[in-house]
């Protein structure tokens, strides 16, 4: 049994040495038990601290020197605890770029007696750089200002964040580059169109003009053969000119604005008919079936589509037949399908798939003229307006072409065409 002996002298009369003593025997068992319990608790505590996957540390707030550091510190960074407790250890091993910032943050936290959460880099014993996420609490113990912290290794997260940021920046850079390339392509295309409209058509105009003048001048003097040759020149040059014009139209719808406006379909179609004698009686009969629902689109492009549909309807008929076209609309959910039905020669099943392709011609050149671009223009225009095109047909039964576009939501104003 652990005991403690306390001997004290019994008070003696003045000027006399004490001659009597009292001895107390104190049973230290409980005290020793408590001491042991405390020691065990401390051991458990240290054991717990050491198992935490983070550096638990304590430091003097003024000198920033560590007074305690958990076992994980050595496992993570490779320095034994004894080194950590040396003066200036922290300053030497925090990354120089983070040193000032963290020092300032610590001072502010101390001044306000607030907790601080911060991240900084440290150099490990094997010269690796790790990111620590530190949760620091200022406290006062025994009248001394101390800092208590738990720092976890967040290197992986920081590395991932940096990579993400780098990838993001790279992506942004790529987008900027690609947009610039696209803008350049569009400018090149516009320059090409402009050039084509002037430079390509000019020599064609010369060929057509002089051949026609030659025919006029040589009216009764030319041999039929020469006359025939001149006519063929005119025909060839006319065809080339129509190809250029159609390619330009294709280019125009490809570059058309994506802005969409409500369009009064009936007025647009009537305008197209007014501007084209070949769509009017007696050349053709075009009947609109009201009401024609309004659509959302780009007016010049839609005009082009209507013109092309009607052009085809009027052209591809049996010789001697007066072309007849019926136009009506059909709602399809939030879209509108515009139908163009004709009494023409119709289309074979096998050709239906390719008829909207560019330069695709179904009929032989000597029977029906055409550049093979008209319907490609319609499809391109429809796509740009967020719509679609299609056809139903049987040979000799006429065809039903359709273009489907977005409908106008109720309460929207419908503009009258003729402004552009």
């Amino acid at each position: 049994m652990p005991v403690q002996l306390i001997t004290e002298a019994i008070r003696a009369p003045l000027n006399h040495l004490p001659s009597k003593f009292r001895t107390s025997i104190v049973d230290l068992t409980q005290y020793k038990d408590v001491e042991a319990a405390i020691a065990r608790t401390q051991q458990d505590y240290h054991h717990l601290i050491d198992t935490v996957e983070g550096i638990v540390w304590e430091a003097d707030a003024q000198t920033m020197d560590c007074t305690f550091v958990s076992g994980y510190a050595e496992r993570l960074l490779g320095y034994p605890a004894s080194e950590w407790l040396r003066a200036g250890f922290w300053q030497r091993h925090i990354h120089f770029q983070d040193r000032e910032r963290v020092a300032n943050e610590l001072n502010r936290a101390l001044a306000k007696n607030q907790r601080l959460v911060t991240e900084y880099r440290v150099v490990s014993a094997d010269r690796r750089l790790l990111w620590l996420h530190d949760n620091i609490t200022p406290l006062v113990r025994d009248r001394e200002f101390r800092l208590l912290g738990v720092a976890i290794d967040v290197t992986n997260r920081r590395v991932a964040e940096d990579e993400l940021r780098r990838a993001h920046d790279l992506l942004e850079q790529r987008v900027i580059e690609r947009t610039s390339e696209l803008r350049q392509s569009i400018e090149d295309l516009e320059a090409f169109s402009y050039s084509a409209s002037h430079d390509l058509r000019s020599p064609l105009r010369a060929m057509l003009g002089f051949a026609e003048l030659a025919l006029q001048h040589g009216k009764d003097q030319l041999s039929p053969t020469v006359e025939d040759y001149l006519k063929r020149i005119i025909k060839g040059a006319s065809r080339a000119d129509r190809l250029v014009q159609d390619l330009l139209a294709y280019s125009r719808v490809s570059r058309a604005s994506l802005a969409q406006n409500p369009i009064a379909l009936e007025e647009l179609i009537r305008d197209v008919m007014e501007q084209n004698v070949q769509f009017q009686p007696p050349n053709a009969q075009v009947k609109l079936q009201p009401p024609l629902l309004p659509v959302l689109g780009h007016e010049p492009s839609l005009s082009q589509c209507v013109t092309n549909f009607l052009s085809n309807a009027v052209k591809f008929v049996r010789p001697g037949t007066v072309p007849f076209v019926r136009i009506w609309t059909e709602p399809r959910d939030d879209q509108v399908r515009v139908w163009f039905q004709d009494n023409g020669i119709g289309i074979e099943q096998r050709d239906l798939g390719r008829i909207f392709g560019i330069f695709e011609r179904i009929q032989p050149m000597d029977k029906y003229e055409g550049t093979g671009i008209g319907l490609a223009i319609v499809r391109k225009a429809a796509e740009r307006m967020g719509g679609s095109v299609g056809v139903e047909s049987e040979p000799e039964q006429g065809s039903r072409f359709w273009i489907q576009l977005k409908g106008v939501p109720p309460n929207d104003q419908v503009s009258t065409p003729g402004g552009g």
Partner: protein, 159 residues
């Protein structure tokens, strides 16, 4: 004195076609031709080779191509409209281009009309005939053109 017409055009064949059309439409106004933008400015400003105002008077109508050497047609148009004495001079752009951007620019800069060069001379003749009937015969000239007189032409044939 009959007002002349100034054609600003650099393509040889287009000049020939225009002259042919003038003949075909029986336009008696003299047709003067300059082949580039700078020459047009000199002509209308009475400078350089065109100081002789008798020989090169202010025309009653300008037919202006857009694709010109030395100075593009739109620049010439801009210059014409900036000159006080020429601000109201009738200018019709006569171009191979049917591009919306060109048409808009021309009108924005003050063109009185825009003709797309047709590919057939007979069509051009019909167009010039219409131009003559309106701009050269019927249209009231802008003020300050006190010497404007069109030549008497036979009445138009019944359409």
């Amino acid at each position: 004195m009959t007002k002349s017409v100034l054609l600003v055009e650099d393509e040889e064949h287009d000049i020939i076609f225009m002259q042919t059309a003038f003949e075909g439409a029986q336009v008696n106004n003299p047709l003067d031709v300059v082949r580039d933008g700078q020459a047009a400015v000199d002509y209308l400003g009475g400078k350089g080779a065109f100081v002789d105002h008798q020989r090169y008077p202010i025309p009653g109508l300008v037919l202006l191509d857009l694709r010109l050497p030395q100075m593009p047609g739109l620049e010439v148009l801009k210059w014409i409209r900036s000159q006080q004495s020429l601000a109201h001079l009738p200018v019709i752009v006569c171009s191979g281009s049917n591009q919306d951007s060109d048409v808009e620019s021309a009108y924005a800069l003050g063109a009185n009309g825009y003709i797309v060069k047709p590919s057939s001379p007979s069509r051009l003749t019909r167009i010039i005939s219409t131009v003559k009937k309106y701009w050269l015969d019927a249209n009231g000239p802008p003020p300050n053109c006190d010497e404007w007189l069109s030549v008497i032409v036979p009445p138009p044939a019944q359409e």
